[in-house]
Amino acid sequence: MKKFINKPEDFVDEMIEGILMAYPNFYKKAKDSLREIVRSNSPEQTKVAIATGGGSGHLPVFLGYVGEGLCDGVAVGDVFASPSAREMYNVTKAIDGGKGVLYLYGNYGGDVMNFDMAAEMAETDNIEVETVLVRDDVASSKNIEKRRGVAGLFYAYKIAGAAANNGKDLQEVKSFTEEALDNTRSMGVALSPCTIPEAGEPTFKIADDEMEIGMGIHGEPGIERTTLKQADKVSNIVIEKILADGPYEKGDEVSILVNSLGATPLEELYIIYNKVKDILKGKEIEVYNNYIGNYATSLEMSGMSISLMKLNPQLKTLLDAPAHSPFFNQQDLRDN
């Protein structure tokens, strides 16, 4: 294991301390714990609050999407492990301005158990809570209900955050987010594993000339391990799986996210994008906009994922709304 770390057990806390040091105007602790981080101006009385959370190791997921026009608070777990229900509950209390809280996070067992318990606790405090699970990973199951959440989290945060900022109520924010996710599919390809600092060993083994199609962001097995192919072929495999699974048709407009799993450089992402855009053009699917970079990572895993969100006028307006965090910035792109 080669990493810039001190004691492995201090990895998460020192990372959060660093972020708080770097962006003191953006973030604050909900109470005393480093694992409960909220926007510095929380709670806001004028809008629905959005809470997220999950294991560390995926920056900018989850903490990086706490910001203006995005989420309001986050519970931060150990690397690849769910935070506790207490942390989620404390975040909930700190961000609720009276209009309710949307729990928005990836569909993983530990997170679901803890968020559900936090919701029960919040409800005894008369805080209204609704939940939307992100399950965009096409490769993780045939059954949509069982799918895991990966880079599509980005679209979920973007849409939910914009809807909340537009003054939508909790049910409306929830339904816009669900609509966005119904329209979103993702799939990843991994080339090399990552190492959890406290474990010290790579999460899986893969030969130098192999890739795994559909691997999850914690090294969950994908649908096929095969010899490494050229970028265009990989793009083709992934985009075909996504198109076959999702609601995409000729004439649709989509947003594309080409995401690095951590170690894959931007150069390679643009090589992928080049082909993806070409394939979509051939199918007469118009690319409305794109996001290319590190949006949902898995420590130093190399690999990439592609996400597609089909747009309609309302989703387009929400996607174009401004958003600001230290990890994601977008100006107001809406025409008015």
Partner: protein
């Protein structure tokens, strides 16, 4: 044995404290096991949770019913352990006592139904079954034994030894199988050969209960 002998709340809290100390003292062992198939933090997480149980000892003694007591313990564990283990061990305790809204004491007679409820709660919450390499593998043989045995024909000290042995058997079985639940499932067959840390924590509970009663002279 007299299966109707009453174990009052304050004694139950003593047992819980004994269990908690056992978990806290085995922190390193648990993290080491977790290091083989996970991320080495199970011990620390459990320690944090059960230290909080010990810290709340006096508050727990003031609980009026079995249900209230175990509900509070479950909540402390859920809120302080984190990860998946928090809710699962929390549920184990809270569902153990959930049927006893009126009871101000526990009896051996209540044990089979309490353990069935605890097991079902954990299975339902985590979606695991026997053979998935989880804490369920430790609890299930204990419950099977309790469902079969005629409690009045066994002495209490023998019963507790039997339960511990059943739990141990269940725990050992996790060595032979690959994980189908929890993070270790991503290792596929590489998890074979190692005990599941959650199953080990669960075994420690049965070991602690046996030690508490059999080393203490007080007859149950």
């Amino acid at each position: 044995m007299n299966t109707k002998k009453e174990i009052k709340i304050d004694i139950m809290v003593e047992v819980i404290e004994y269990i908690s100390n056992k978990i806290v003292n085995n922190c390193d062992k648990l993290s080491k096991l977790d290091g083989k198939i996970g991320d080495s933090d199970h011990g620390e997480n459990m320690k944090r949770g059960f230290k909080n149980v010990i810290k709340n000892k006096e508050k727990l003694k003031k609980k009026n019913t079995v249900r209230e007591l175990f509900n509070e313990i479950g909540e402390i564990i859920t809120f302080n352990v984190g990860g998946s283990a928090g809710p699962l061990f929390g549920r184990l305790f809270s569902d153990f006592g959930s049927s006893y809204e009126e009871h101000k004491y526990f009896t051996i007679e209540m044990l089979p139904s309490a353990m069935n409820s605890a097991l079902n709660g954990v299975k339902k919450l985590g979606g695991a079954d026997v053979g998935d390499k989880t804490m369920v593998d430790t609890i299930a043989p204990v419950v099977d034994f309790l469902n079969e045995v005629n409690l009045s024909e066994l002495e209490c000290n023998i019963l507790l030894i039997k339960l511990k042995e059943e739990a141990r058997k269940g725990l050992e079985s996790t060595k032979l199988i690959s994980a189908r639940k929890g993070r270790a499932r991503y290792l596929n067959d590489r998890s074979i050969g190692h005990m599941d840390p959650g199953a080990y924590s669960c075994y420690l509970i049965f070991e602690a209960v046996e030690e508490y009663f059999n080393d203490n002279t007080e007859e149950v």
